[in-house]
Symmetry: C2
């Protein structure tokens, strides 16, 4: 009986994913871009890897603080860069990607330009949408976070981080683009390294920031499509293009 219930659940999930993917393809089909449906992670309550401190934070509705730099003793080792959990894992930078895939089940996508389709934007803060993006011989972590910087006023923050060193990160430029309802919003910047903390990037506001009303204008049936492109860096002077 349990087996049949599980099978039925799996079929429902597949139908839901197929529907989300169909919606995304319908919107972006002409661009011929890879669309990735990203489901939110809205509760840290049942995460098996978090520590007690993170559990307390999650129960209070606060995202766990960043302990990355304090935790590293061996300079060759880096801590887990997953922004969802305060994970005790540490390892070499080269194996961070496989740790994120295997332990935190974060998907990885290939392609110079992809569309990140974040579903269920209405879920309460704090909520994260995360994928990895493999491009130009490197892996990047895209984090979309819904968070209340001002109590009662959730905002959306989107940033891209290189799974590499800050020096390597300086060689790239990432672009996030929203396009709907005759409005277009583009954010371009140099990615930060995952060795820096995603929480501090977001608290500094040095990323794409959307108020709830603007996020709604760009959403379609509770899903937000963000076009992502990564290029090798060129000098961004105020002179060019403006």
């Amino acid at each position: 009986m349990l087996f049949f219930t599980q099978c039925f659940g799996a079929v429902l999930d597949l139908i839901h994913l197929r529907f989300q993917h169909y919606k995304a393809k319908r919107v972006f089909s002409a661009a011929g871009q890879l669309v990735c449906v990203v489901n939110p992670t809205h509760s840290l309550k049942y995460a098996p890897t978090r520590c007690a401190a993170a559990q307390t934070s999650a129960e209070q509705g606060i995202l766990p603080p960043c302990h990355h730099h304090e935790a590293v003793h061996d300079p060759q080792l880096v801590p887990c860069t997953c922004p969802l959990y305060s994970c005790p894992w540490e390892g070499h930078l080269e194996v961070v990607v496989s740790h994120l895939r295997q332990t935190h089940r974060i998907n990885i996508l290939q392609g110079a330009e992809i569309v990140f389709l974040a579903t269920d934007m209405h879920l309460p803060a704090p909520t994260d949408w995360i994928i990895m993006h493999s491009c130009l011989g490197h892996q990047f972590l895209l984090v979309l976070r819904k968070q209340e910087k001002y109590e009662g006023h959730p905002q959306f923050f989107a940033t891209m981080m290189l799974i590499g060193t800050p020096t390597q990160a300086d060689n790239f430029t990432y672009r996030l683009e929203l396009n709907r309802n005759q409005r277009r919003l583009k954010w371009e910047a140099t990615p930060r390294s995952v060795l820096e903390c995603v929480d501090s990037v977001i608290s500094d506001g040095d990323c794409l920031v959307l108020n709830t009303s603007l996020a709604q204008l760009f959403s379609d049936n509770g899903s937000l499509a963000i076009g992502i492109a990564i290029t090798t860096s060129k000098v961004h002077n105020a002179e060019d293009e403006m």
Copy 2:
């Protein structure tokens, strides 16, 4: 003596404006674009044309509410569209521009692409920076407003409105672009008509919105340069360019 004091004040103002203009030219000279230095209007206290209700609002640090639609009795007449004051003037749409120039001393600039250099970004909210932009045979009103939607957290809101009807406004697309410190933020949308209220556009958040931290990243010595371009409208589908 008074004459000499006034002359000295005027010379100081000229030096200050020259310095601002030099700074702007240094940043944007390669683009060959017209740079307009826009000083803020940070107090409504001594405005000669505002009504008592607006005075009370200003003294409480609140921008006056929009009474435009209530005030119009003759459908041929439109009220004053200046977002700074609750002005009792009304007239035909064709003479709004001359009213704004003469009564509210709002500058008008010519050119397809201009740079709006808003000075003194540190001034407390509510503050407005306003110019008119003449382009493609029409006049547009650019409003940058510093306002506290959430108490203690000022934000910047920028929008462009056509001094014309909503039907005419649908024929255009405006672009606002910030570009500094290896970051670039672009907002593109259809301008609203000045017959709609700028206050409601801002309270809906349907415009370029900047947190203080992001505004600081894009500022240079307390001045924020916004590149402005207006084009005739083309269909903005999610398919194109993403």
